[in-house]
């Protein structure tokens, strides 16, 4: 029997060793297709188990330790933004149908358009694995497109190397994703803190603070706070919102929420400086559906 042959097993192990040391360029032309073929039989079961997972342990509260009023406002905003995205998706579908029937071409919608995607693949062996989604080049998805959940929570970025109907999303907390420029926005309306009307005695509303974040895995990113021009440490507190402000990301992603400041502490290497830990609002390990903001030109190109 073929499988009983030790010689064949030795050959297969040698081939695995050879593949393991080959550079990515040698595997890129065929490995994506083979990976998608291997994963295809597991998709339905994975979706069913993801549903069971959320029944076993409900997703965490996205806004822990916040006043009830603020939490309700944030949740209401996220819900409305989610509905807005859903309405956008519906409008897009109707526009395509109208276009097919009448030749009508809809106007440009600020350069991007939402595309709903299901997470169909997920690395189970290592934390911080990539998410495989069921839309790709054919649906207008291209590298660098932002992936969001809950209307405004940034989940990650679409990696290069996708195929016609499949793409990979690199979660924000993946250490390999590199540094991310962000801005810390004081919690509450108009930069208000805990003080009445956002003002503390002798101080105005807290200013926003620029910070560069480094992904750490497990839904966390850390950043080092630079002292202000006056030499004072930046005023950042737990619970402040962190928004993307990175020129290397697409315009559609700017200003979207990365997470909340979880803690502020001294930097290990330099106790006089401070570091912040940011916890993502979305959980990549438990996301089963997301929205990719694809470029309008790519949608038109992909539809051709």
């Amino acid at each position: 029997m073929l499988l009983a042959s030790r010689r064949i097993l030795a050959v297969v192990l040698c081939a695995a060793a050879l593949l393991a040391v080959l550079p990515q360029s040698a595997q890129a032309p065929w490995s994506g297709r083979l990976a998608s073929f291997l994963w295809a039989p597991l998709r339905p079961g994975t979706a069913a188990l993801a549903w069971l997972r959320d029944r076993v342990r409900a997703p965490e509260d996205p806004y822990p330790n916040l006043p009830d009023e603020l939490r309700a406002a944030l949740e209401e905003r996220d819900r409305l933004r989610g509905e807005l995205d859903a309405a956008d998706l519906r409008i897009g579908k109707l526009e395509r149908e109208v276009g097919e029937l009448t030749g009508y071409r809809p106007a440009d919608r600020a350069g991007w358009r939402p595309r709903l995607a299901n997470v169909v693949e997920r690395g189970g062996a290592r934390p911080g694995g990539l998410l495989g989604i069921d839309i790709g080049v054919a649906q207008g998805v291209s590298e660098g497109d932002p992936a969001v959940v809950g209307g405004s929570q940034l989940l990650g970025i679409v990696a290069a190397g996708g195929s016609e109907g499949r793409s990979w999303v690199v979660p924000l907390d993946d250490r390999r994703a590199g540094r991310i420029d962000a801005v810390v926005h004081p919690s509450g309306a108009a930069g208000t803190g805990k003080g009445a009307a956002g003002r503390e005695p002798g101080r105005g509303p807290r200013p926003t603070v620029l910070v560069q974040l480094l992904p750490q895995g497990n839904r966390t990113l850390v950043g080092e706070l630079e002292p202000g021009a006056d030499g004072r440490a930046a005023d950042v507190r737990a619970g402040d919102a962190v928004l993307l402000s990175d020129a290397s990301w697409r315009p559609a992603a700017q200003g979207m929420r990365i997470g909340l400041v979880e803690s502020v502490g001294a930097l290990d290497a330099n106790p006089l400086r401070r570091r912040i830990t940011v916890r993502m609002e979305s959980d990549p390990a438990r996301t089963s559906r997301l929205v990719v903001k694809v470029r309008e030109s790519a949608v038109q190109g992909g539809a051709r």
Binding site: A20, L42, T46, G124, G144, V170, A177
Partner: protein
């Protein structure tokens, strides 16, 4: 060994690791079931059968964990076949060498074997990924940080997986007759008598 049973078990375990096990995460560590299943197979199956199962499992895991290369706007995801296949083969081989000293018909033995299997696999994976990161990958396959830190994280995760895996290991023991292992013995081999594997 019945290969169709093995294929179904591997698929179920991979699906559970990807989708269900995050529900049992503890301090950011999500337990995995694949070390338990691989250790169970390596405890009972013939040497060739166990190694084949390990290679198949590893290739499946390679398909699910793409490496990240350099792209123009975003990192490029490229599934790299080989590292997990070698890692799983090393894990299975470790159990094959240890099993003569183990009392296999016990769920705790399978859990212990799962820990040993996972540690050997992690060591091999980090070694291969470290080698690759010196010339082929812009960032190491284990994600980031030093290889020692990755080994430490993996060791903790393997221990959590072994503890969580006691219950599945106990359940797996009941399925031994269905697997038709060559070296399971008359009690678990369906009454056909012991046969020595290849």
């Amino acid at each position: 060994m019945r290969w169709w049973v093995c294929a179904i078990a591997l698929a179920v375990v991979l699906m559970a690791d990807a989708a269900l096990m995050p529900a049992f995460a503890w301090r950011g560590m999500s337990p995995q079931l694949w070390p338990t299943l691989l250790a169970f197979i390596a405890l009972y199956a013939s040497r060739g059968g166990a190694m084949w199962a390990a290679v198949v499992l590893g290739l499946w895991m390679d398909a699910l964990n793409p490496a990240l290369g350099i792209g123009s706007m975003a990192p490029r995801a490229v599934p790299v076949f080989g590292p997990h296949a070698l890692a799983c083969a090393a894990g299975a081989w470790t159990i094959l060498e240890l099993r003569a000293w183990l009392y296999r018909r016990n769920a705790l033995t399978v859990a212990f074997a799962a820990a040993a299997c996972g540690l050997a696999a992690s060591l091999t994976f980090v070694a291969v990924a470290g080698l690759r990161s010196s010339y082929a990958d812009p960032s190491p396959l284990w994600g980031g940080g030093s290889g020692a830190a990755a080994l430490g994280n993996d060791a903790l995760e393997v221990l959590v997986s072994a503890v969580v895996g006691i219950l599945p290991a106990w359940a797996l023991q009941w399925t031994v007759p269905a697997w038709d292992f060559e070296v399971a013995g008359p009690r678990f081999g369906g009454g056909r008598g012991p046969r020595q594997g290849a």
